[in-house]
Every structure is written in structure tokens, then in C-alpha cells.
Symmetry: C2
Subunit: 312 residues, 2 copies
């Protein structure tokens, strides 16, 4: 039996630590690095606690073995040595991403591939100066990556197609859901889709059409039920007798008629009004507790989807 | 103990029949009418089969009692007699909606309220001529209403606020999730949110950024997991340390930067390409089977949400 391959985690805050779980859970050896000692000290305790949460909903059964596959390193070169893949999740500024990419470029092996967790900055903005830039790309997760499977794989213009294909295969092997973009675009796919929906939601709220809670309910008690296991195209394909072409023929005029000119950024006064409305239903002091509630519900939903064959 | 109140279902195709289940399940007496004998003949057999499906996932326990509360009528006036509320779900054209509204206006009692299942035509386009138009409005469900809780309540300019409040209360009483719009707007809230997301998804596909399946996965394995139990505003409120205002301050510039000029209706050539791609993964002959799969998964998701306290 071959020894497990090694994955390096560079930048081990919440996103990087979640990635450590993803790879260790799938049987990889994980070497985690962060420049901050206090962040390094938190990795294994957090992983232990998160694995207990996953075990509670039946998502893992061998927490100790998973934990034993994760090691923490105080040296970048040591963490990366022997790694087939590096998941980089440092602070999201061009300066920080450029610095870490150049540092990685100096220490990775000639086959090692680097994926950045960047949610918005494309790889072309921070990997141009890397000698091995053909093996750098974006691998953008949703937080927390050990619960939400989607990962956007976005090549820079100089990223090698074979490297992209290898990362797609790797992500499938660890049961994430890779989404492959053919080229860079602002916001990638996921945040563009979230963005248009948010912009329309804010516009409806600004115009006084409905309350925040009611706009939220159109998703949480409506559209979101299907979108939790089918995307928008499959949804419309099944929503007309003749499939997607039939749906488009019937409804594209309606949807085109709803389009309105793009508005600018959400206005301060509207944000202030929304804040008052949210804080009336959820005081600021309760935000942390509600986040724990969200994570608990999310993990149970993920376990439910797995039980139904609806996972990646 | 008071006798149960009566609800009339007018137009009893799939949407109307689903509504019959919603009200009967909650203890109301339901009188269903449809002008077509073959539609009338199908109501009770369909309800029996659907109740068996609901019982299988634990969503109802007294299918026979629910069924016994539904009666079918071949006369509009008889169906509506004594009803506190009429849910109208006839074919969605201005002509059909106008005809049925005038017919209802002639036979309803002086307290009866009428909600139309119209998904796009506002009530002002078909109730202006009704003497009792102050008690007519839109109550737009998502199909099937006995599984998806959301209902958009949209008043015409002449709808009485007290009538709106009564329908909101009624919908809550039958465990639907009423979303209250202050006034009419094209597409209401739900289809506007769906529409902007669809338009962006089609644009990304048209531009060759990603495949249909990959765009779908950004929702089904990503955004949709949260939206299945939290709307977009609660999502962003929990996604920044300081809540919604903090999130908006950090990211409104990013989202404003992604806005692009609205495009026209989805082009024929793009629809043709999408059709080929969908039919390669799901042949037209398998559409019906996949719809049954969707409904089975949807009912299990609804049961899961109920078990987790995430229902309306």
C-alpha cells in the first residue's frame, strides 16, 4: 500500500483549518503552516472540536485517525516539502497574496501545484512574477470548506490546463465539488450569482416593497429549498413540460421585462435602516450564538444531503 | 367545539389541488371546484396519492381524515357558499383571471376574501371591475404549495389592508410562510430574485465562463445550502463580525463593481446550446422520472427542515 500523499496548508485561520480537515478526512497527510504562533497553536484544538461536531452528526467516524494525519509546522519550507498540492489561505490583499506566492515559488517542488482560497482577487494579480506560475491558480471555497463542498477553480492566463485538471481531480477525490471556470472574471461565478441576488434584494428593500425578513423568507421558505440540491438550470429544466428550451420560450420575455438598470453601491441610509431592522430581530450580542446555530444547522443539512445521495 | 371553517379552491389543477391539501391538512373544510370534469375527477385520487407520499416521509399522520375534509363540486356557487376564503388557481391569462374574478364577485359572501395564485399578473389587471375588489389580492405560491411554504401576498391598489392582514394570518395558521409585499411590482419578489440570478447564470453560460452543470453546482453544492434555511440578508448579517452593516461596508464596492448592463432576453442560439448540454446529461425521455426524483427529495428536505425547527 502506498504512503498517503501530502498536502500543505499555508495560512491556517478558519479557512485554512477547514481545508486541513477536508484533506485529512480524505486520507491525505496534511502539513499546516501559519506565520503567527497563536494561529498555529489553535489549529489542532480547533480541528479536534470540529471533528467532534462532525462525528456528532455522523459525518466522520474516525476523528482520532483524521487528527493524527495533521501536523503543524513553524517553517514554510518544511510544511511544503514533499507536498503534491498547497492550499494557500492567507489574508486577502494583493500584497499578502503576492508575498506568499513568491515565497512558495521558491520552495515548492517541480510538480507541486498551488491553489489560492482567494474569494475575489484573481491569480493573475499576484502570481505573474512566479517562475512556476503555470502551476498556480485559484481554488476558492465557501466557508467552512469542510461543510460546504463547492470550490471554484479559476486559472490565470498562464495556468497550465493539466494543472487545472489535476486540481479538479484532487477536489473530487476529497469529495469537494469543483466548479471549473474557463477564465478569470470579477467575482468568479459564485459571488456574481450571490451579488446579483443581493443587489436586487437591497433594491427591493430600498424601495419599500417588503421587509428584510420577508425578502429572506422568499429564499429560506421558497427558492432555497430547490437550490439546496439543484442549481438554477436544472430547476428550470424540470419546470416546464418540454424542459429548459420550453421554459426559456415561455418565460424569457417575462424575465427580460424585469431587468432594471444597475444601481450603485447600497446606500448608507438603506444600510442603516436594514441594520436597525436586523438588530431588532437579532441583537448584536446574539450574533455569535446565531452563527453557532447556523453552523449546527448547516452540518445537519450536509449530513441529510449525504444520506440522500445529494452530496458532491 | 366550533365547526371547521370552509375554504374554496377554484381551479383545481396541480396548483389548486396542492392548495386543497394545505388547507385540509390544517383542519379546514375544503370545497374544490374546476370547470373541467376530468380535472374534477382527478382531485381526490391525486390527493390520496400525495397524502401517501407525505405520510411516507412523516409529514402527515392522518391521511384519511385530511382526505375526508375535501369535497369536489361541479358548480362554482356551491363550492364558494360559506367559504371564508377562496384560493383561485385558474389558467394564467388576463382573460381567464378576469372572467373567474367577475364570476366569484357575483357569488361570494360579504366577508369572503379571494387570493389568486397568479405568479406574474398583478390583481389590478383583472379585479378592477369587481364590486368587492377590496377583498381580492394575489396569494402566489411556489409549486407544489403543500411542500414549499412561501406565499407572496400582493395587494392591488384597492385591496383593503385588513383583508391582507387576514390572509397573512390565515397563511400562518396553515403553516405557509406569507411574504407581504406593500405594492405590486413585476415578478413580485420571488421571481425577481430568481430572475436576476437566472439572467446572470445565462450570461455566464453565454460567455463560456463555465458549463451549465458547474454553474448549477455553485448553488446546489454552495450558496443553496445556506439559502435553504436562511435568506440573503441573514446570511450576510452572520458573515461579518459586526453584522450586516459591517458586511455592507466591506463588500458593497465589490458587488457594485460586478454589475453589468442588463442584457436582453436569453438568445436562441444560447438556449439551443444549453438544451444540447442538458439533454446530454438528462435525455428528454428521463425528464418525468427526474421530476419524480425532485419531488421525493423535496419532500424529504421539507421533513428534515421540520425536524430541525427550520419550517415556516
Amino acid at each position: 500500500m502506498a504512503a498517503p500523499q501530502t498536502i500543505a496548508i499555508v495560512g491556517a485561520g478558519l479557512v485554512g483549518s477547514g481545508w486541513a480537515l477536508v484533506f485529512a478526512r480524505a486520507g491525505f497527510r496534511v502539513k499546516a503552516y501559519d506565520p503567527a504562533p497563536e494561529v498555529r497553536a489553535g489549529i489542532l484544538p480547533w480541528a479536534r472540536e470540529s471533528l467532534a461536531d462532525l462525528a456528532e452528526v455522523g459525518l466522520v467516524s474516525d476523528a482520532e485517525a483524521i487528527l493524527a494525519r495533521i501536523s503543524v509546522h513553524d517553517d514554510l519550507a518544511a510544511a511544503v516539502a514533499g507536498a503534491v498540492y498547497v492550499q494557500e489561505s492567507v489574508f486577502e490583499t494583493v500584497a499578502a497574496k503576492t508575498e506568499v506566492s513568491l515565497a512558495l515559488d521558491a520552495v515548492i517542488g517541480p510538480q507541486t501545484i498551488v491553489g489560492s482560497s482567494s474569494s475575489g482577487i484573481p491569480a493573475s494579480q499576484f502570481t505573474e512574477g512566479c517562475r512556476q506560475r503555470a502551476r498556480f491558480m485559484i481554488a476558492h471555497p465557501v466557508n467552512p470548506p469542510h461543510l460546504v463542498p463547492v470550490v471554484e477553480i479559476v486559472p490565470a492566463p498562464w495556468t497550465a490546463p493539466e494543472a487545472v485538471a489535476q486540481v479538479v481531480d484532487l477536489m473530487r477525490a476529497v469529495e469537494q465539488a469543483p466548479v471549473r471556470l474557463t477564465r478569470e472574471i470579477d467575482g468568479f461565478v459564485l459571488n456574481r450569482l450571490q451579488g446579483v441576488l443581493l443587489n436586487e434584494a437591497w433594491a427591493l428593500y430600498e424601495d419599500g416593497i417588503a421587509s428584510l425578513a420577508d425578502i429572506d423568507a422568499t429564499l429560506s421558505q421558497g427558492l432555497g429549498l430547490r437550490w439546496a440540491f439543484m442549481g438554477p438550470f436544472e430547476t428550470i429544466d424540470l419546470n416546464a413540460p418540454g424542459g429548459i428550451a420550453d421554459y426559456a420560450a415561455r418565460l424569457r420575455g417575462l424575465y427580460a421585462g424585469m431587468l432594471r438598470p444597475a444601481r450603485g453601491p447600497w446606500p448608507d441610509a438603506v444600510i442603516a435602516r436594514a441594520t436597525d431592522e436586523r438588530r431588532a430581530s437579532l441583537p448584536a450580542a446574539d450574533l455569535a450564538q446565531r452563527r453557532a446555530w447556523r453552523d449546527a444547522k448547516l452540518s445537519r443539512l450536509v449530513a441529510f444531503k449525504k444520506s440522500q445521495g445529494l452530496s458532491a
